[in-house]
């Protein structure tokens, strides 16, 4: 029962649909612009309908080296994928192990380890960017996948979430497993990991987005286009001192840059929402 007012319902739907359209507008315009050639783009304001290039602009940015970048977008997508997967998997793996040690073992200095790890939740990479850059340079990590991935794994969000989840596992499960002859590794593999499946999926979504959408760190650490990520490349495409901005190529690249994370979030929406709401707890 909800004291319905049909007029209000229709108005609500109208506002929501309007908002939806407004939210889609930037992407729609990007899509239409990406189907025009540069000349037709610059004859008037941005077109609301598709041009005559079809998917030609996409094909060309994917296959030919883009001006000012010296590499094609396929390579950039590959770099972004390696980085996002590296960060997501890396974080999840070390987080599973570290949280496992902290929750299921008693050992000296456990509390200290706990605080050492969780204090990292407080400071994002942007705050300590200069010295982190220097250390990465000292370790020879500039222009490498390791350099793109490792420093961004150094935050304990995933560890914290796994700890929260492990604490809800009934202690008798561990005891039963010990009586059944399972040691620490077997308990992890046979019992804990299968029970963590949803949490792993949720964290994977969040960490994949986090990794894919990184900007400042890849901007600093990659000077060679061989390791540049697609998100960072957009700025290079735009910074045209002499020429007109090739919007059709920029928009095609931007759409390609958002396609994988948007696909992940739409396909795994259930886990993503759960992951977000868990993160709040």
């Amino acid at each position: 029962m909800r004291y319905r007012r049909p007029g209000l319902d229709i108005a609500s739907h109208a506002v929501l649909i309007l908002a939806l359209l407004a939210f889609c507008l930037p992407v729609w315009l990007a899509f239409t612009a990406a189907t025009h050639d540069q000349a037709s783009l610059y004859t008037s304001t941005a077109p609301l309908w598709f041009g005559d290039q079809g998917l030609g602009n996409f094909r060309s940015v994917l296959s030919e080296p883009v001006a000012r970048l010296g590499t094609d977008v396929t390579r950039l997508l590959l770099n972004s994928t390696v980085m996002a997967l590296g960060i997501a998997c890396g974080k999840i793996i070390i987080a599973i192990l570290a949280a496992y040690a902290i929750v299921f073992f008693r050992f000296p200095l456990r509390r200290l380890c706990f605080w050492l790890i969780f204090i990292t939740l407080m400071l994002p990479v942007e705050v300590r960017i200069m010295p982190t850059y220097k250390i990465a340079a000292d370790l020879n990590l500039l222009n490498s996948y390791a350099g793109l991935i490792l420093p961004l794994i150094a935050s304990a969000t995933a560890t914290f979430l796994f700890r929260q989840f492990y604490l809800t596992v009934p202690p008798e499960l561990l005891e039963a497993a010990r009586v059944d002859g399972a040691g620490p590794w077997r308990f992890l593999k046979d019992i804990l990991l299968p029970l963590s499946k949803t949490n792993i999926a949720a964290l994977f979504v969040i960490m994949f987005l986090y990794g894919w959408n990184q900007y400042l760190w890849p901007l600093l650490i990659t000077t060679e286009s061989d390791y540049m990520t697609i998100v960072v490349s957009l700025k290079r495409l735009l910074s045209s001192a002499d020429n007109l901005v090739p919007w059709q190529a920029v928009m095609a690249t931007a759409l390609l840059a958002m396609l994988p994370p948007v696909a992940v979030i739409v396909l795994m929406q259930r886990y993503f929402v759960k992951g977000l709401v868990d993160a709040e707890k």
Binding site: M1, R2, Y3, L8, S12, H13, V15, L16, L20, F23, L25, T45, A46, I94, L97, A98, F104, F105, F107, L116, I117, M122, L123, E126, V127, M130, P131, T132, K134, I135, I153, A154, S155, L167, P171, L174, E175, R178, P184, W185, W212, N213, Y215, L219, V231, V232, K235, L238, W247, V250, A254, M258, P261, V262, I265, V266, Q269, V273, V277, E280
Partner: protein
Amino acid sequence: MATFQRHRLTPWILLAPQLAIVAVFFFWPAAQAVLQAFYVEDPFGLGRTFVAFENFTRVLASAEYYRALGITVAFSIGVALGAMALALLLAVLADRVIKGAHAYKTLLIWPYAVAPAVAGVLWMFMLAPELGLVSAWLGALGIDWNHQLNGGQAMALVVMASVWKQMSYNFVFFLAGLQAIPRSLLEAAAIDGAGPWRRFWTITFPLLSPTSFFLLVMNSVYAFFETFGTIDATTAGGPGGATRTLVYKVFEDGFVGYDLGSSAAQSVLLMLLVGLLTLLQFRYLERKVQY
């Protein structure tokens, strides 16, 4: 909590990767940042001199720093209020229509997945001075839009792009918060003669306050740090520093101006600020536990 007791080495093996990464890429740089803040490095990187708090006093005495602070605060308020108000409105509407609430969620959630830099570029295209569609509409209304020249418009651009991206995050939380409010409360209020408007402000809104507070903190953190990509890709802090936030200034002073001491001092100040925000969040979490 049941534990494995006889294994002395295993926990250290399990912790080793995390501890190593955290030590090398968190504590070492954080310590470096703090240390660096008390030194001045010569321009060729050949040596450095201990200057105690001089970097801090220099930063805190510079008008530029306060300008960046003001811009950061204005930007954060703009993003947080804009993204939260819009999200709350849409969440309330989606919650009340019941039919389609889930569909709306699916259709509104995806901007969260878009990188801040990409969001900035999409909006830049819509507002491009010569060929942008929205800038043309604004021109028809008599507004001459050029964010490359007009500082206020540049700020509006980054705020809009950030709100567009952040709104979906807030929407998910507000909708979850709304759906958690017991229907019986609203029904009781309706029986007591409160109309939808009054029901919202006297019941729904107060019950949403924990969610709102949490989102306020999260949006501020987002506006502080994650919008770096939006700003750098669109305005690069310009024009004339009109969109130069604190984080952008740390980056500029360090990587463009090579003033390492000042950049480090600003980092330390930022750390203190973030620490404060985190403390606030913990205070809130504590309070929430008591509910």
